[in-house]
Amino acid sequence: MNYVPVIGLETHVELKTESKMFCSCSANYFGKAPNTHTCPVCLGLPGALPVPNKKAIEWTILLGLALNCTINKESKFDRKNYFYPDLPKGYQISQYDKPIASGGWLNLKSQNSNLKTTEKKIRITRVHLEEDTGKLLHSNKDTLIDFNRSGVPLVEVVTEPDFDNSTDVKRFLEELHTIIRYLDISDADMEKGSMRMEPNISLRKITNDELRITNKNQKLELPNYKVEVKNINSFNFAKKAIDYELKRQAEILDSGKIPVQETRGYNDKKGITYSQRSKEEAHDYRYFPEPDIPPMEFGNEKLEMINDTLPELPAAKVERYIKKFGIKSSDAVIISRDKIISAYFENVLSKIKSDKAGQTVANAMVNKKISTKLSSDEFAKEIEKLSKPKETNMGMLASSIEKAIESNPKVVADYKSGKTNAIMFLVGQVMREMKGQADAQTVRAELEKKLK
């Protein structure tokens, strides 16, 4: 039996605003003494009221725009009601039916070794804004609660179940991570918990007649169950967890049963997912519009203003680097992962006279041939040194060329019969003979002369 994985992703990102989502406590909670960044609002004291953080709303719009979403003209907050010790009010202020952004997408481009580009479009269902909960620490007989994190702004990005393999999920997470860092709205640090993700995983049976699904516009009959996996702390673990789950589910399906719809945790030490005994019932969150917060309306002017602050996004930057600077796609991707490094790259190039130095600089940076700790001026100077044509010993060159022609009669014959590329092999031989102490352009020119 063949199965097609059906995977959707839910990602939570903590915004790095100064203050919390609904109160003016500091949102910078990591590593602070417990319950020191708290106030009546984020502690859920009797009588406290929420007032939303303007910047958090704007940053959510920004992320929505970066993910090609439609920003909903009318939006609001809703209460998500459930009981848990880390939720001080007994409800989380979130968004239900009118999220800030919806209907977007992210393209995953990849270039394989044959330089063939494939593009996969992952649809973004929604981007919404909510508040984080407190943190629980488990000791022997007690559970300890720290509310420093309670109320920190959290953006949730939900995708359609458009993934069919774990590698794409990892790439999506990396791309999303880079976009978020570009927008400078979050540290998106998995280890510190400012970026978290939960994949929803299921398998769909396909018959031998059906094609493997690559076109998202095809109507997918979704499986009648899905498993959510929590407690994944890195992109690598996400891939491992998904692969494990797919295998586990396939085995169950093979045996004629259906995997239980549930939430599972991931244990990296053991390399397994495990069933979470705690809350297995489906939650009835009893959503209703948050009465303490008036609704939001976003006018065109405001949206345009925010749209104008969008930086060039990683995908566009990669395109531009390939076209404008002629560098390899894989190098473009590496350099563009960090806004500061990309800026440095372009800065260095701006100081080099030649407009063909792109790949050279890229090589030097990616392979760490020259230190990026140098100023861009200094780096550019180093590049110029590298690119200076080498002093070629013409005498040695002539004899090396003779040797190469003699040793490779077939190659010479190929070249003479029209396979002009064959000369590159001879250039390589000469360079080897000359131990690299020759300028490749000069070698080629001399060879061409000789072979006429």
Partner: protein, 457 residues
Amino acid sequence: MEPYSLSIKKLLEGLKDKLFSQEEVYSSFLQRVNKYNNKLNIFLTVCDEPYKKDKTKSNKVGGIPIGVKDIFVTKGLRTTAGSKVLENYIPEYSATIVERLLESGASVIGKTNLDAWAHGASGENSDFGPTKNPWNTQYVPGGSSSGSAAAVAAQMCPAALATDTGGSIRFPSSFCNIVGIKPTYGRCSRYGVIAMASSLDSPGVMAKTVEDCELVFNLIAGTDEYDGTTVTFEPRPVPRKIRVGIPKEYFSEGINNEVRLQVEEAIRIISSIPNVDVVGEVSLPHTEYAVATYYIIVPSEISSNLARYDGIRYGHDRSFFGDEAKRRIMLGTYALSAGYYDAYYKKAMKVRTLIKQDFEKVFEKVDVLVAPVSPTPPFKLGEKVNDPLAMYMCDVLTGPINLAGIPSLALPAGFTKSGLPVGMQFIGPQMGESILFELGKKYQEVTDWHLKKPMII
């Protein structure tokens, strides 16, 4: 004259003229408290020393003691919400409007009794025993601001803070022969008000006279950065000629005769006031659906607002909730639950729109509506406790105002033959408090119901 018998206006004059000192004023009221509190069960916490600020922004009401419904958090001063859950709760901050009063020089003389969590119309849902009506201790003072109303009526304080979600200021004001303003929703900050129904809760003021009520209201009203639902709109000005409408649905057959007679008499008096024009009958056609709408929306919000009381960070656990609280939590949870949300909560939100529109249409033609507050005169303790739905029906004339978010002023309109107070309400458009106060002051110039005091035996 004993300070406790004076209005705030007269107290301020007396203090200015040094007829008595702030300490004497406080002690005069405190003596009243200590004399009658055991009998009437008005204050849950009494401040033997005035609870006040040493340095204040102004002295507008310097030295005036105010009663505060125990639904407002007061920093360092026990706040119970009338419930055993918060029996020993000491808040770490104060409500905004309490702060504003303290900054104006007032002191808090104590926290007044109430139906637990403000759930009720009689005061009998208090976990600490019901408050008795100072006019006749066999009768309820009305609720949920039972203690605040009784305190003012019994002259234990010249004014009190209270809240009105479905009538909780107007109903007890009407039963205790005092004045109470339920302001426009959003006019007074809810920060620090233990939440009942977030989209209806309206903090307000009770006092002996309309003049006093307006004075205190002006000190506490206004936007608050800690409450995102406080309004920034301009208050409506008082028109040169006040047009009065009579909502016919508020005078239906279900209204007790004595109540009807007193209010109709009041309307006759009002029609004789210069620059007041009683235009005639108007209609609020969706009035009969208000109680159902109210008792879907309010318990729904209650069920969510009371979710924080789990005993982890403060207070006792949920087993300490009283009967009415549990009933409303369950009702609200049901109305919001999967499969029922559309039929109940969503439906009620739509009918709420219709009720709001009824008032908006009417206020295009008139400036004020005059109506009774309670369909019945004050009832006896124990009379309605076993029938929750009967108790809910007490809100039939007050609830619609909260659903629409508009203001209403309750004031004395007379007495029944057996000497029990009958109140009436002036209902106004959003931000129309000045109109209500103006008409109220004019009415109190030509009547003396508000000057009558109960004889507490």
